[in-house]
C-alpha cells in the first residue's frame, strides 16, 4: 500500500468514508460526524500508521483531509 493509500484508509476506518469523496471539500465543516472524538481517532491512526508522535498543535490543526496531509508533510511523511 502506498502512503497515500494508507492515509486514505484512515478516513475509511474513522468515517467509513467513500475514497472518491476525499479531497479539498472533506473537512470538519462538511463532515457532520467530525468532532473531537473522530479527530483524535484520525490522529491516533496517523501516529500508528506512520510511526509518529504528533504535537498538540498538530492535533488541533487536524480539521480537514488536506490539513492532515500538511501535518504528515511537516513530520517528514511523503505522500
Amino acid at each position: 500500500m502506498t502512503n497515500l493509500e494508507k492515509y486514505n484508509d484512515i478516513f475509511v476506518q474513522v468515517f467509513g468514508a467513500d475514497i472518491a469523496l476525499l479531497g479539498d471539500n472533506y473537512s470538519k465543516e462538511t463532515v457532520s460526524e467530525w468532532d473531537s472524538v473522530h479527530q483524535l481517532n484520525i490522529i491516533s491512526l496517523m501516529e500508528e500508521t506512520f510511526d509518529l508522535m504528533l504535537d498538540p498543535e498538530d492535533i488541533m490543526a487536524c480539521t480537514s483531509y488536506n490539513a492532515g496531509k500538511e501535518i504528515l508533510a511537516r513530520n517528514g511523511v511523503k505522500l
Binding site: Q13, V14, F15, G16, E33, D35, S36, V37, H38, Q39, L40, N41, I43, S44, D55, P56, I59, M60, C62
Partner: protein, 450 residues
C-alpha cells in the same frame, strides 16, 4: 429556594462561557421570578441547549420557578429522535436559540414534584425519559459538593454537556456553594478550549474516560496548569493503565484524582473513590456518596455481607429519581422507586467496603461515556438494513453479529449515522446463524464478547 441560591450574593458570577458570556446568581433569580410572574400553571417545556451561560440561566430559572418543567435536550438532537419526542410528549412550550415559543399543544398535567426530564440515551432513537424530582437536585447538590469538598472560590471547567446528567450535576453542586462554573461547548481539540482553561484559571476538570484519553493525547502531563487542583472522572469504567497514569500524576503533583460512579437514574454521582485510595485501589468505584448507601444482593434477592462476593449492586438515597416516562401520561406518575434502585451492575466490595464493578446485567454499553442501548442498535439495523443482528461488546467496542456479509458496510454506516459514534467503535462479524433458544430468544452468552 432551590439549592439555597437566595443566600448567595446576587452579584457573584455563577458562570462564564468560552464565547465571552457571563451570568450572575442575581440574573438567574431574576429570570426565575420573571417566569413565575408569567406562568400560573406548570407546563412541559422542551429546552434545546448548548454549553453557554444563557442555557444555564434558563434551565436553572425554570427549575427554581417550578413552573416550566424542562426536558433538557441537545440542541443538535437527531431529527428523527426529536420528532419522536415531540409527538410523544406534546410540549406546551419549546425554548431554543434564546426564545420561548408557545406551541399549539394544550398544557398537560404534571406530577407536582416533577422537576425535569432527561433522555435515557443521547444517541439511539428511544423517547424513554428519566423523571427527576426537586429533591434529586437538592440531594445531588449537597452530596456532590460534600465529597468533592467544593467551595465558593472554585472555578470548575465544564466540558460535559448541560443535557447530560453528570454535566447538570456539576452545575447543581457548584451552585450549591456559590462557585463560578466555566462552561464551554468547544471541543478539547479546539485552541479556544485551551485558551479558556488557561486564561480563566480553572481549578477542576470533570470528564468521561474519553476526555482523559484526549487530555493524554494533548500532552496534558507536560502542561503547566497551576490552578488546576482537582480532576474527576465518571461516565463509565476507565482503562486501568490510563486511570493509574492520572492517579499517579495527581498524587505526585499535589492534585486530587477522584473517580466516581453514577447513573442518570440517580441524578449522576452515586459512589466515589477517595483520592487517598486512587492509586492503591485503582479501578474501584469506591464508597457511596454522603447520604447514600450501596449494597449487594444475590440472585434470590438476599443481602450479601461478605467481601469479595459478587452480586447486583443496589443504591439507596435521595438522589434516586422517580422512574421513567414513556408517554405524556407518565408525566403525572409519582415516585415509583422511593429512593431505592437496583443498578443492573454486578459488583463486589473489598475489606474496606470499596466497590468494584465486574459486569453489567443490562443490555447497554457506555461508548465514550454515552449510553448506547444494544437492543436499540439491533432495532436500527433491522429497520435500516432489513437484517437480523446480535449486538454485544464492552465499553471499548461494540461487536455486531450479522449473517449477511453483503450488509457489513450498510450496518456500519447505519450505526455511525444514528449514534454519531466513531466507526472504529463498531466491529461487524459474520456468523452463519444467530444463536437462539426454542422460544426464539437470542442467546448472547453463546457469542464471543471480545
Amino acid at each position: 429556594m432551590l439549592l439555597g441560591l437566595e443566600h448567595i450574593d446576587p452579584n457573584r458570577i455563577a458562570a462564564i462561557d468560552s464565547e465571552g458570556g457571563k451570568l450572575t446568581y442575581g440574573d438567574i433569580i431574576n429570570r426565575a421570578k420573571e417566569i413565575e410572574a408569567n406562568f400560573s400553571n406548570r407546563a412541559l417545556c422542551f429546552m434545546l441547549v448548548e454549553n453557554n451561560v444563557n442555557c444555564i440561566e434558563w434551565v436553572m430559572a425554570s427549575l427554581i420557578s417550578r413552573r416550566l418543567v424542562p426536558l433538557i435536550l441537545n440542541a443538535k438532537t437527531d431529527e428523527v429522535l426529536y420528532n419522536n419526542l415531540l409527538s410523544t410528549y406534546k410540549p406546551a412550550y419549546i425554548w431554543k436559540n434564546g426564545e420561548l415559543i408557545r406551541t399549539v399543544n394544550p398544557i398537560a398535567p404534571l406530577f407536582p414534584e416533577l422537576s425535569h426530564l432527561l433522555p435515557t440515551s443521547g444517541s439511539t432513537g428511544s423517547p424513554k425519559l428519566v423523571r427527576h424530582k426537586y429533591e434529586n437536585i437538592e440531594a445531588a447538590g449537597l452530596n456532590i459538593s460534600t465529597f468533592f469538598e467544593l467551595k465558593e472560590t472554585d472555578r470548575p471547567l465544564m466540558v460535559l454537556p448541560l443535557y447530560y446528567t453528570m454535566g447538570l450535576s456539576m452545575v447543581f453542586s457548584h451552585f450549591k456553594v456559590g462557585a463560578t462554573v466555566l462552561i464551554t461547548g468547544r471541543n478539547m481539540t479546539d485552541p479556544v478550549f485551551w485558551k479558556f482553561i488557561k486564561e480563566k484559571a480553572a481549578t477542576s476538570f470533570t470528564g468521561v474516560p474519553y476526555s482523559f484519553q484526549i487530555l493524554n493525547m494533548m500532552r496534558f502531563f507536560r502542561m503547566d496548569l497551576p490552578a488546576l487542583e482537582l480532576l474527576t472522572q465518571g461516565g463509565g469504567k476507565m482503562e486501568r493503565g490510563l486511570n493509574l497514569k492520572f492517579a499517579e500524576y495527581c498524587r505526585d503533583n499535589g492534585k486530587r484524582w477522584i473517580a466516581t460512579y453514577g447513573q442518570s437514574e440517580c441524578s449522576a454521582r452515586m459512589a466515589w473513590l477517595p483520592a487517598k485510595w486512587a492509586v492503591e485501589k485503582v479501578g474501584s468505584i469506591g464508597i457511596a456518596v454522603p447520604n447514600g448507601e450501596l449494597s449487594l444482593i444475590d440472585a434470590e434477592g438476599n443481602p450479601i455481607n461478605t467481601p469479595h462476593t459478587e452480586g447486583e449492586m443496589c443504591y439507596r438515597g435521595k438522589n434516586v429519581t422517580l422512574g421513567y416516562a414513556r408517554s405524556l401520561e407518565d408525566l403525572t406518575l409519582g415516585d415509583e422507586r422511593n429512593g431505592f434502585i437496583r443498578t443492573g451492575d454486578l459488583a463486589y466490595f473489598d475489606e474496606d467496603g470499596c466497590y468494584y464493578i465486574v459486569g453489567r446485567m443490562g443490555r447497554f454499553l457506555k461508548l465514550f461515556g454515552m449510553r448506547v442501548g444494544l437492543d436499540e442498535c439491533e432495532q436500527i439495523i433491522a429497520s435500516d438494513c432489513q437484517t437480523e443482528s446480535a449486538c454485544v461488546g464492552t465499553d471499548e467496542k461494540m461487536i455486531v453479529y450479522i449473517t449477511d456479509a453483503a450488509k457489513t458496510q450498510a450496518v456500519k454506516d447505519a450505526l455511525v449515522e444514528k449514534t454519531h459514534i466513531v466507526a472504529t467503535s463498531f466491529e461487524i462479524r459474520i456468523i452463519t446463524e444467530i444463536p437462539k433458544n426454542e422460544a426464539g430468544k437470542k442467546l448472547y452468552s453463546k457469542l464471543e464478547n471480545k
